[in-house]
């Protein structure tokens, strides 16, 4: 893992890094405790590791909880080039949207491919983060993300025992995600947008129901997936604090 830049503002140190062809960012408290919990943050489809919503919630997690937060660009997102197949998916997505056709089958196929590629990338990133002395292998690890970040996170959490709590959001549900949810037993919360023309309610409820965790909470909010109310960012911070523990 190579650190490529470091800046700091408002008590938050931001370090960008690369690991092979994966580009990422690590946010830490300026005076962070060694071994503080680490939250892996997955961005939404079409965005990147430093999308404004992700940065805001990462800063909240760092300043309020004293946690560290890491985000990486999904394949073909942010600083990473798209391959030819990705280009095709994005083109058909835009085409379907413009034509008023359902984007569901394209998103399911594209997200499934991205998630399959992203899971080993996240695992390698976690290996590298745990090799940093301030993180180590004892720091509790959580995962948070919505839409594409949820698709990747469900597959990752189902196969990665180091993740001990996860926060998911609105996502276009396909079979692999339901199967992954059935394997998840760590404490989870799901945020579900109630009025989103691209994310239906019933599959969201079915995904929550499929999750095998004993400790699970569904939080429904009005509007579209990208209109997450401000209090839900605070709820997410409190969820991780309960599930991962205090920093230091």
């Amino acid at each position: 893992m190579d650190f490529t830049a470091e800046t700091s503002s408002n008590g938050v140190v931001e370090r960008t890094f690369s690991l092979n062809d994966v580009t990422g960012v690590l946010w830490s408290p300026a005076a962070g405790a060694d071994g503080a919990p680490l939250v892996l943050a997955g961005h939404t489809g079409g965005l990147h590791k430093k999308a404004p919503g992700l940065v805001a919630s990462a800063h909240h997690m760092v300043t309020t909880n004293g946690f560290r937060v890491a985000a990486i660009d999904a394949p073909g997102h942010g600083d990473r080039p798209r391959n030819a197949k990705d280009e095709q998916w994005v083109a058909s997505l835009l085409q379907a949207r413009a034509a008023g056709e359902s984007i569901d089958p394209i998103v399911a196929e594209y997200n499934s491919s991205l998630a399959e590629r992203a899971v080993p990338e996240w695992q390698a990133t976690l290996d590298a983060l745990q090799a940093l002395p301030e993180i180590g292998t004892e720091a509790p690890v959580g995962y948070g993300g919505t839409t594409l970040g949820t698709a990747i996170g469900l597959l990752l959490t189902a196969t990665e025992p180091r993740i001990t709590a996860a926060s998911f959001g609105g996502v276009l549900v396909f079979d692999e995600l339901i199967e992954a949810a059935r394997k998840i037993t760590v404490p989870v919360e799901f945020l579900l947008p109630w009025d989103d023309e691209e994310i239906a309610r019933a599959p969201g409820l079915a995904l929550f129901d499929a999750c095998a965790s004993k400790e699970k909470t569904l939080r429904v909010y009005p509007g579209r997936h990208n209109h997450v109310p401000r209090y839900e960012a605070e709820n997410q911070g409190r969820f991780f604090l309960r599930a991962l523990g205090q920093a230091g």
């Binding site: 409820l205 129901d209 909470t217 569904l218 429904v220 009005p222 209090y231 839900e232």
Partner: protein
């Protein structure tokens, strides 16, 4: 309103009162002289104003926020006599339990209780607001029967500025819910055997732009106070925007 008893423990004064034939309890902070916002609490079916779920939450609201909290017995519940109509409805409930028509019978009984309880709550609120201890915004907290009564009350009572409901969502409450525009927090049970995510239909019906639904498996609520903390924050936030 007549006060009939007064005790205090753990920093909370509990006063029993009656207004007409309605029996109620008012909890407030010991030695608290400033007027405080008020939370009205509606108990569940077959329970009463001092049921454990009411008492523990009332104490929490008083001790952590300094609110005044009031609960009254629903008609035919707690210290109140059942009318012949109540007796008939309860006999009907028992029969329905045997024949598998229980949920419909509960909805009918709740509707009858609610029609009587709404004016009782309004008279109680009139009386409570005359007390020097109570001033400012009013909230409502009630699940199950407490929701049946609370939704009907909130639809017609502009003094209520924020409400927590949950656990049930019969279609009979949809029209009242559609008239409600205040902030709502709705507590649901994701693994309710007869109605998974109990009440999502009712949640959908509220006209409020600020409404959240929190659904947990039943086992998740036991001994875990954090949804109470989330209701506490909900009242604090909306009482302060209402100018408490």
């Amino acid at each position: 309103m007549q006060f009939t008893s007064e005790t205090s423990s753990d920093g909370v004064v509990e006063r029993g009162f009656t207004t007409g034939e309605v029996t109620g309890l008012l909890w407030s902070p010991v030695g608290h002289s400033d007027p405080a916002p008020l939370v009205l609490m509606g108990h569940g079916g077959g329970q009463h104003k001092r049921a454990p779920g009411i008492l523990s939450r009332a104490y929490h609201f008083v001790t952590t926020c300094g609110f005044a909290v009031a609960a009254i017995d629903a008609p035919g519940h707690g210290d109140r006599q059942r009318t012949p109509e109540d007796e008939q409805q309860i006999a009907g409930l028992r029969q329905a339990q045997a024949s598998g028509d229980f949920l419909d019978a509960v909805v009918r009984y709740n509707a009858s209780l609610s029609a009587r309880a709404v004016p009782e709550w309004q008279a109680t609120l009139d009386a409570l607001e005359k007390l020097p201890d109570v001033e400012g915004p009013v909230g409502y907290w009630g699940v199950a029967l407490g929701t049946a009564i609370g939704v009907a009350l909130t639809a017609v009572e502009p003094r209520i500025v924020a409400a927590v409901f949950g656990l049930i969502g019969p279609e009979s409450l949809t029209d009242a819910a559609a008239r409600i525009t205040i902030p709502i927090q709705f507590l649901a049970q994701s693994d309710a055997p007869d109605d998974p995510h109990s009440g999502t239909g009712l949640y959908d019906a509220f006209a409020s732009t600020d409404k959240s639904l929190i659904s947990n498996p039943a086992a998740h609520y036991r001994g875990r106070p954090f949804e109470l903390e989330s209701s506490t924050r909900f009242f604090l936030e909306h009482f302060s925007t209402a100018g408490a």
